[in-house]
């Protein structure tokens, strides 16, 4: 490096440090923007960036600008932990949103207790909030709740004998376990339990066996990605006419496109994000859902996903807590966050307590039925 370049660099640095310090609230995020969980992290990052811009255009929080410091951890727990440390120590953020995946979340979680910084995870697993950690919150519902919701709908239709066909991927395996676990309490008997690999292309043998099971009344398919679409097509191919349930893992328009006509008549638990225009006028989630969809479509020209909705809720919960705390002290923000009551988001209505850091109940899930290639809410 030449001497001039060094000199130029030094004077540039001097200029930077000489700039007047703006009053800013720094919020950190570590998301899987790329890599295997990019389908989660990408809409989450887009949502956060959009929301920060919107917030600052409207005057920020209590008149202070918000700065988002976003790192891409690629769903790698090691990277996530490094970024979380950097966010806390170097960037001096007041709170952190993130962990698109459960792995990344659990790697970061212990840091927040050490440094006393509030953290809102966007990952699904129940271990994040059970047992409750003082500084760790999360916005998505758990797969256990999805099972309970599905079973509640099955029993309300007067049926009890259920067959499971689950993917062996992380999502499917975890949800299968939770479903088996909550079945007795939900008044449901699991009479068939089959599985398939995530990239399998034909599940007719498993479905043939399920359909031949004595007394079976309904079939549930916990799974993610292309597997459930193949299962749905095979289900129609075999002409099985038992009520069929999918999970919240496939609650997207993409799924209907892949499964085609075979998807008609099946039901699944999902967030209200899929039925913005069919929500009742007095539904507390109607406003946030329509706001989010309009803003996201204006900013990115595509429909938002369920996963982006988790980030939307996390950001609003946090901003709301900072406003109520009237302070940027992380511990006071945490206390305000835990006191959140009846916050209507796009995923559900959140009420945190010291014992519950997810704050959602079963009403956050709506049972939807696919009719004529579109979503229709099922009256409860």
């Amino acid at each position: 490096m030449t001497r001039q370049a060094v000199a130029a660099g030094v004077s540039a640095l001097a200029l930077l440090t000489a700039a007047p310090a703006l009053a800013e609230i720094k919020i950190g995020a570590s998301l899987a923007v790329t890599g295997p969980a990019a389908f989660l992290g990408d809409p989450e990052a887009k949502t956060l960036e959009m929301l920060v811009e919107e917030l600052n255009a409207n005057g920020g929080i209590n008149g202070e600008e918000v700065e988002l410091i976003l790192y891409d951890d690629g769903a790698d727990p090691n990277k996530a932990r490094t970024f979380a440390t950097r966010l806390i120590e170097e960037d001096e953020v007041v709170a952190v949103i993130g962990g698109s995946s459960t792995g990344a979340t659990m790697a970061m979680a212990p840091l927040f207790a050490d440094y006393e910084i509030p953290f809102i995870s966007l990952a699904g697993a129940v271990v994040i909030i059970d047992p409750v950690q003082e500084f760790v919150f999360k916005t998505p519902h758990t797969d256990r709740m999805a099972c309970e919701k599905i079973f509640a709908d099955i029993t309300s239709r007067g049926m009890t004998k259920v067959g499971l066909i689950s993917g062996t991927d992380g999502f499917g395996a975890s949800m299968r376990e939770q479903c088996l676990d909550v079945a007795p309490a939900s008044g449901v008997e699991i009479v068939a339990d089959e599985s398939y690999g995530g990239s399998d292309s034909d599940m007719t043998p498993q479905l043939t066996n399920i359909a031949a099971t004595e007394g079976i009344e309904a079939v549930v398919n916990p799974g993610f990605g292309q597997g459930p679409a193949v299962v749905t097509r095979n289900y129609a191919q075999l002409g099985i006419d038992l009520p069929f349930y999918q999970s919240h893992g496939v609650a997207s328009d993409e799924f209907i496109k892949l499964a085609g006509d075979a998807a008609n008549g099946l039901r699944l638990p999902a967030t209200p994000l899929l039925i913005p225009d069919q929500l009742a006028e007095d539904d507390p989630q109607r406003q946030p859902v329509q706001d989010y969809i309009a803003a996201y479509e204006a900013a990115h020209g595509e429909k938002p996903s369920t996963f982006g909705g988790y980030a939307y809720d996390a950001f609003h919960l946090l901003v709301n807590a900072i406003e109520r705390a009237g302070s940027t002290d992380p511990v006071e923000i945490r206390d305000a966050l835990e006191a959140t009551e009846g916050h209507a988001g796009v995923t559900g209505v959140y009420s945190f307590t010291p014992e519950d850091h997810m704050g959602l109940d079963l009403s956050a899930f709506r049972i939807l039925e696919i009719k004529d290639g579109g979503w229709t809410p099922v009256e409860e």
Binding site: A38, S199, S201, P205
Partner: protein
């Protein structure tokens, strides 16, 4: 009884897909001794290109051949840009190059296409046909027919044509082949083009049933490679039989034992066969003179 029939139909459908992928492995191996680990990516290129074209409104009978040609072009580029410059390298290095090419192609496909899962309608519709209590999709018949056609073509090509015999001679001993006047470079080029085309064809035929996305190539290649090993490396008949056998074992295990052991049972059979007949079911026993 109708259950058994359904399991058979399922096994043959899946097996035919494995066989089509295995046949692609066979050709490059026959020409160069290289096991091409980018074979699964050719399958994905075929499926993704067809899906993109059909999505853009191109009729399927134009999109399908174009997708096969696209796969073929990528195969030629792979040979020209990655394999030929390293042709003096030992075989293991060439195989590692194909692994690198597979990773590169997966990345490139994310950029060229997208990360979504794609499918298009079956060539003859999606209404299942009923065969004595079992159901089969019309597309499954296309896949089975396609695999048999590719097998017949390869058997004829490798044994009955000058170009095909040139490919086999090149594999057997490249220097000797060159000495008797065979253009070994052209033979290699041809084998990469053809096996990429076979892979892409498998993708085009299978996508209505299996769906496709940029990252399914690895697993496709794994199953196709297993079929190749089981049937005997280098034998088109072995590839066909190996693919169908693995598909049937998987379907029968999922049907009669438990779907949890489906993959395991296929690999147990492969291990047993390789213990008893290391050259595979239809492979030629190769004696190396030292």
């Amino acid at each position: 009884m109708s259950e058994l029939l359904q399991f058979l139909v399922s096994g043959i459908t899946v097996g035919a897909i494995y066989a089509a992928i295995a046949l692609g492995f066979t050709l490059i191996y026959n020409a160069s001794g290289v096991v091409n680990f980018a074979q699964g990516e050719f399958v994905v290129i075929g499926g993704m290109t067809a899906a993109a074209l059909i999505g853009a409104g191109v009729p399927v009978w134009i999109a399908a051949p174009l997708a096969v040609i696209a796969g073929m072009l990528v195969g030629v580029l792979l040979y020209r840009l990655a394999i030929r410059p390293a042709r003096e390298a030992p075989l293991v290095s060439l195989i590692i190059i194909t692994i690198g090419a597979s990773i590169f192609l997966r990345g490139a496909m994310q950029a060229v296409f997208d990360k979504q899962i794609h499918r298009y309608d079956g060539f003859s519709g999606d209404a299942p046909l009923r065969v004595g209590g079992a159901t089969i999709l019309p597309q499954s018949l296309w896949i089975i027919g396609g695999s048999i056609a590719v097998f017949a073509f390869l058997a004829w090509f490798l044994n009955r044509t000058r170009a095909g015999r040139g490919i086999r001679a090149t594999a057997s001993n490249r220097m000797a082949a060159a000495l008797v006047g065979i253009n070994t470079g052209r033979a290699m080029n041809l084998s990469f083009a053809l096996s990429a085309a076979i892979g892409a064809l498998a993708g085009v035929l299978a996508t209505p049933v299996t769906f496709t996305s940029y990252d399914v190539g690895v697993l496709m290649a794994l199953k196709g490679f297993s079929a190749t090993m089981l049937g005997g490396v280098g034998s088109p008949l072995g590839a066909l039989a190996g693919g169908l056998l693995i598909g049937l074992i998987e379907a029968m295990t999922a049907g009669y034992i438990s779907s949890d052991y489906k993959d395991a049972s296929a690999f147990v059979v492969i291990l047993l066969v390789l213990f008893l007949r290391p050259q595979g079911l239809f492979g030629a026993r190769i004696t190396e003179r030292v």
